[in-house]
């Protein structure tokens, strides 16, 4: 089972930059991209078109943007936490916003971590890589 990251992001630019940064990491993480909350939940719950996940199991970490179409990030987070199989799945809220309101809401909805997307692309790349490195190499996932 290869380690991979689920990136939930609707903005194509942010997606490209994140994927680019993640591909440069030493661990060589694979990235699966979901465009909105529904896709992400489908993927994680082994239902729908993304079911079976081609035998790759749950991702090591989910990078979740808060600003998503249809269902917002916090709502997605709550649903991830509500499901037995994904209750302990590491979800890092990865967003531009630094507003205390979003921070509070994210943690209340069950975020594992909250990271602000830097505007500076070097910082962005570094941050993304650090996240990937931590959750894929250092963290021990729940059994």
């Amino acid at each position: 089972m290869e380690k991979h990251i689920l990136l939930v992001e609707d903005n194509r630019d942010d997606e490209t930059l994140a994927v680019r940064a993640l591909e440069k990491t030493e661990i060589g993480a694979n990235v699966v991209v979901a465009r909105d909350g529904a896709e992400a939940l489908d993927y994680l719950s082994a239902k729908g078109t993304r079911a079976l996940r081609s035998g790759s199991g749950l991702p090591s970490v989910v990078l979740l943007d808060l600003q998503l179409p249809k269902m917002d990030g916090a709502e997605v987070l709550k649903r991830i936490r509500a499901s037995e199989s994904t209750k302990y799945l590491p979800v890092v809220v990865f967003t531009s916003s630094g507003e205390p309101r979003d921070l509070a809401r994210s943690y209340q909805s069950g975020a594992t971590s909250y990271v602000r997307k830097p505007v500076d692309s070097d910082a962005f790349a570094r941050t993304t890589q650090q996240i990937a490195h931590y959750w894929l190499s250092i963290n021990e996932p729940s059994p």
């Binding site: 930059l17 916003s97 630094g98 505007v119 500076d120 692309s121």
Partner: protein, 441 residues
């Protein structure tokens, strides 16, 4: 007839009615003066209270009806009251005391007339009475002079005048009672009216306050939403600009000439500056919206902390950082920190070209109150432009020389203003700068 004409006519009528009444009163006063005392004296001595009582009752009802039809002026009523009391008192004194009732009542009537109609009329009354008394003395009218103690014939004149006096007095009682109750009722009504008005005014005011507060809350939440939008929606495309420019630089640098690389570099730098600008603007907006939480704060400690941060961010720089100890003030810690951060960062930044950079923070006396000062020996500024320092986006040094968005000082000023304090700056080109602010408690 128009409304105003009718009102005028009614007022005229009232005035005439009042006049007529006044004349009736005046005449009856005059005519009743002498026999006053006599009638009572006799009645008391003879034990003859029945005629007294009878005429009193009759008079009461008659005058009550007359005066009920119109209004007596206040003086009239007062005068009547005076008359009653003196009459009663005079009776008692006449019977048991040394003073002649008639004489006393005479003076009472004069006083009554004075109150009624003024001193001039009182003089007339006096004159008239003296005339009647002279007639009595001359013998033209018998039995009027009480002093002689003559037997007095119960002539119809004395009864008539006595009766009129009682009419007069009774009416006065009714009128006075009526007047008093009317006034009481008026005051009561006025009171009630006023109270109602005050209450409705209060309610109106409260409603207005409620509306204003609601509107303020709405504006504030709009601002918050705007700031939020700025924060997120501006940064996303900015990230793309920066990110893809860097990507271009990294992956296509072999295909770019010097100019191309330079252009790209500028794009990158500009987007970085915009990011800082967004941060500063957000802070300014947040500062304005946040409520003030006052506490006792240690400015020395805050200054030292900021100094530490600056040193850690720039370990290569050797800057003499002097902080006066035990500098305390009353204010919102979070907001005042922003002020000190802005001032100290500036001092740090503008001494970057100095040979021997020095930054100091301390207390200073400002017209008897405590002020706080940050000074440096850096590049300084031209005092002619001092007024522009605290305006947002105004900068006195070019961007190439010193990085900065020009909002830090505007934010500092906003915070100081929220504390009802002042902030100002002094400086000279290449002569350093001193920023002073006050935090009144």
């Amino acid at each position: 007839m128009t409304v105003s004409e009718r009102l005028e006519a009614t007022a005229e009528l009232d005035r005439w009615r009042a006049q007529i009444l006044q004349w009736i009163l005046l005449i009856s006063t005059v005519l009743s003066l002498p026999p006053y005392g006599f009638a009572i004296q006799i009645a008391v001595e003879d034990g003859d209270f029945i005629p007294l009582g009878l005429s009193h009752v009759v008079g009461f009802f008659l005058l009550a009806s007359i005066t009920a039809m119109g209004r007596l002026p206040f003086r009239a009523r007062a005068g009547i009251l005076v008359g009653i009391f003196v009459l009663a008192g005079g009776t008692i004194l006449a019977r048991y005391g040394p003073i002649s009732g008639g004489r006393l009542l005479f003076f009472a009537a004069v006083a009554q007339a004075a109150v009624f109609f003024g001193f001039r009329t009182a003089a007339y009354v006096l004159a008239l009475t003296m005339a009647i008394l002279s007639l009595v003395a001359a013998g033209f009218i018998t039995g009027y002079f009480p002093e002689t103690g003559q037997s007095f014939s119960h002539g119809w004149i004395s009864w008539a005048t006595a009766g009129m006096t009682y009419l007069f007095l009774a009416g006065g009682v009714v009128a006075s009672v009526g007047f008093i109750t009317q006034k009481l009722e008026e005051s009561w009504c006025t009171c009630r009216e006023l109270l109602r008005e005050v209450r409705s005014l209060n309610e109106e005011l409260e409603e207005r306050v409620r509306l204003r507060t609601a509107r303020l809350a709405a504006v504030n939440s709009e601002l918050e939403a705007f700031a939020y939008s700025v924060s997120h929606d501006l940064r996303t495309p900015l990230r793309a600009i920066h990110g893809f420019s860097r990507a271009l630089e990294e992956e296509y640098h072999s295909k770019l000439d010097e100019t191309g690389k330079d252009y790209l570099e500028r794009v990158i730098r500009a987007s970085g500056r915009m990011d800082t600008l967004i941060d500063d603007l957000l802070e300014l907006s947040r500062v304005t919206r946040s409520p003030l939480e006052r506490a006792e704060i240690d400015l020395s400690q805050i200054a030292r902390d900021i100094g530490e941060e600056l040193r850690r961010g720039n370990p290569s720089r050797e800057v003499s950082f002097d902080v006066e100890s035990e500098v305390k003030a009353s204010g919102d810690e979070r907001l005042v920190r922003i002020v000190l951060q802005s001032l100290l960062e500036n001092a740090w930044k503008f001494t970057s070209r100095c040979d021997d950079p020095a930054v100091a923070f301390g207390r200073i006396d400002v017209d008897g109150a405590t002020g706080f000062r940050v000074c440096d020996n850096g590049i300084g500024f031209d005092m002619n432009y001092a007024g522009r320092l605290f305006m947002p986006f105004e900068r006195l040094h070019s961007d190439n020389d010193f990085e900065g968005t020009g909002i830090g000082l505007a934010t500092a000023q906003r915070v100081v203003a929220m504390h009802s304090g002042r902030i100002w700056a002094e400086g000279a080109p290449d002569g350093g700068a001193t920023f002073t602010f006050t935090l009144p408690s």
